[in-house]
């Protein structure tokens, strides 16, 4: 009698355990895009939804799939975790080869397991801590010339040229280098321009873009946790966009509450600063959609206390109703856990006309969703400086059809001097170039 009772309790308990593990999504990423994404109720899990395809890499001759009317070619391979691209005025392309500094200490049992799981995909591979310069040698279909441009960097991400000074955002500081047009290597040591928040570095990337007049640098600084689990005191000057004065190197918080602003760009029609931001994990497969937003000076965008305006996150203690009340709703959702890591505004380019006037977004994909989302490059159309419609996938096929193997993952984007879209692929260690299938056709 006693035993039967105990057994039924056990059976019940394991049923609850299994039930709590399922975190099936009820939306497609595109359904959760736009200015008013549907948001289900937040849930806590025993094990959050996760799926990590195993690293496979690209086979000889294999390439991502492109939308109809486009063609793709590989212009560089055998790179060391290429993360970010930047086009110099003479048409040379800088490839930032980098990964996290690995400085985050293991402070919970969960991290021991999570780190192992996440690294199965190849996303944890060691970065080159260098910048490689690519130069077209004019041979169509061939890989471009590769030159080691700057070495011995410290988890670099953002790059910006102002005049003849090249600013590189390492994870702990912006360093500057003298640049001469046409140079294929910089041997002069970098000079520290200004330091950046560098404790823990849970989110380590420091995105960088200059204001249109070149007087300010905007720096995207990610949070030091998913949702303050490392303590709110670790979030000092974190989860924000810093504005650095180029003349004095002094800095201030330009906008805050942006959990992980991984891409910053100036929208060409309005001259306004825009950002892609990665939102919080572990409260559901459909929460919280990552977003693309204009960044208002002095604006607060919710993290950690709330998301999409006034949706309070109960995991943060103490709560701050005063800050929740003033949280700004972002302009445009991209979908949950797509992990947007690359942003490029493009008015005109060598792609068909429907891909003009808008933003390209490189979506790296996340561990915290099953089925997978992201792992693609999408186009978001803009009308009068505002995003419209749903994100249009233009480059996909970064994982196998059964979602078990990962060939590559798109990150940084750039446009070359011929108007082609360039994509850094940090899992496939390659740079891809996308153009119209038949040149000249709109």
């Amino acid at each position: 009698m006693n035993k039967i009772a105990l057994r039924s309790v056990l059976v019940l308990a394991f049923g609850v355990l299994l039930g709590a593990c399922s975190g099936k999504p009820s939306y497609e990423p595109a359904q959760q895009s736009g200015d008013a994404p549907p948001l289900p109720a937040a849930r806590n899990f025993l094990v959050p939804p996760m799926q990590v395809p195993r690293y496979a890499g690209w086979k000889q001759g294999q390439a991502p799939k492109v939308a109809p009317g486009l063609r793709i070619e590989k212009i560089a391979s055998s790179l060391m975790h290429p993360r970010q691209l930047y086009t110099l005025p003479n048409g040379d392309i800088l490839v930032v080869e980098s990964n996290g500094p690995g400085s985050e200490p293991v402070t919970t049992p969960k991290q021991l397991i999570a780190n192992k799981v996440k690294n199965l995909s190849g996303k944890g591979a060691k970065g080159g801590n260098r910048i490689t310069l690519l130069r077209s040698n004019g041979n169509a279909g061939a890989e471009w010339e590769k030159h080691v441009f700057i070495e011995n960097l410290h988890s670099p991400f953002g790059v910006q040229l102002i005049g003849d000074t090249l600013y590189v955002a390492n994870t702990d500081a912006i360093v500057k280098f003298p640049y001469v047009t046409g140079a294929t290597q910089i041997t002069a040591p970098g000079v520290e321009f200004t330091d950046l928040p560098a404790t823990i570095n849970h989110h380590w990337t420091k995105a960088l873009v200059a204001s249109p007049d070149g007087s300010k640098l905007y720096v995207g600084v990610g949070s030091n946790s998913n949702i303050t689990e490392n303590g709110i005191d670790q979030e000092y000057r974190r989860a924000n966009v810093l504005e650095v004065d180029v003349a004095s190197a002094s800095s201030r918080i330009y906008a805050s509450g942006l959990r992980n602003p991984t891409g910053l760009q100036i929208e060409p029609h309005t001259g306004k600063l825009w950002a892609i931001v990665n939102e919080r994990d572990e409260i559901g497969a459909d929460l919280v959609p990552d977003y693309l937003t204009s960044v208002q000076e002095g604006g607060f965008y919710g993290w950690p206390y709330s998301y999409y305006g006034q949706h309070v996150d109960s995991r943060v203690m103490p709560q701050r109703p005063d800050l929740v009340a003033k949280a700004i709703k972002p302009d445009y959702a991209l979908g949950s856990h797509v992990a947007a890591l690359g942003l490029l505004f493009s008015d005109t380019n060598a792609l068909p006309e429907k891909y003009h006037n808008g933003a390209f977004v490189g979506e790296h994909g996340s561990w915290d969703r099953s089925p997978l989302s992201g792992y693609s490059v999408v186009h978001v159309a803009f009308v009068q400086g505002k995003p419209v419609g749903v994100p249009e996938p233009i480059v996909t096929g970064f994982y196998s059809d059964d979602e078990s193997e990962l060939y590559g993952a798109p990150v940084g984007l750039a446009q070359d001097k011929d108007g082609a879209l360039l994509i850094a692929d940090d899992v496939g260690d390659a740079v891809w170039r996308v153009t119209a299938a038949s040149p000249g056709t709109p």
Partner: protein, 147 residues
């Protein structure tokens, strides 16, 4: 209990059990104290400390629990008393609660509250009852011998 039946127990198993069995109980009690402090202060180190205590408590419990399983149900089946069996089931339930609790404690920040605290309370309560049952039964058995 038939005191004239010689218990068939290995010395090594008894030593391992005696040495390791008290440790998880202490860890789980400490985790409960940390949990209560975390609820009141929201200081994240208490939360992380509790998570480690529960995981290590479970790891250290593996050997004594298997020794207990073997002794109660196999090697000493003839001499196992009702108290021994009750203690076994209480411990099993406590371990199940602690396994759930390890997962709950893998959540971020205040998402551990309140489920994690209640699971810690359950674990400690079940183990406490087990200890009391064994202690009371042990002293009762001794008294009957002294009479």
């Amino acid at each position: 209990m038939n005191s004239h039946v010689a218990p068939h127990r290995s010395i090594l198993a008894n030593a391992a059990y005696g040495l390791l069995n008290p440790i998880p109980f202490g860890f789980f009690v400490a985790a409960l104290i940390f949990d209560i402090i975390y609820v009141r202060t929201a200081g994240v180190l208490w939360n992380k400390g509790a998570a480690w205590l529960i995981v290590f408590g479970l790891l250290i419990a593996v050997i004594p629990r298997f020794v207990n399983l073997a002794q109660v149900w196999i090697t000493s089946r003839q001499v196992a008393r009702r108290a021994d069996k009750l203690d076994f089931w209480l411990n099993l339930l406590a371990i199940v609660a602690a396994i759930f609790n390890a997962f709950v404690h893998s959540r971020d920040a205040y998402a551990v509250v309140p489920a994690g605290v209640w699971l810690s309370v359950c674990t400690v309560l079940l183990l406490s009852i087990g200890h009391i049952v064994m202690a009371v039964h042990h002293s009762a058995a001794k008294e009957s011998v002294h009479e």
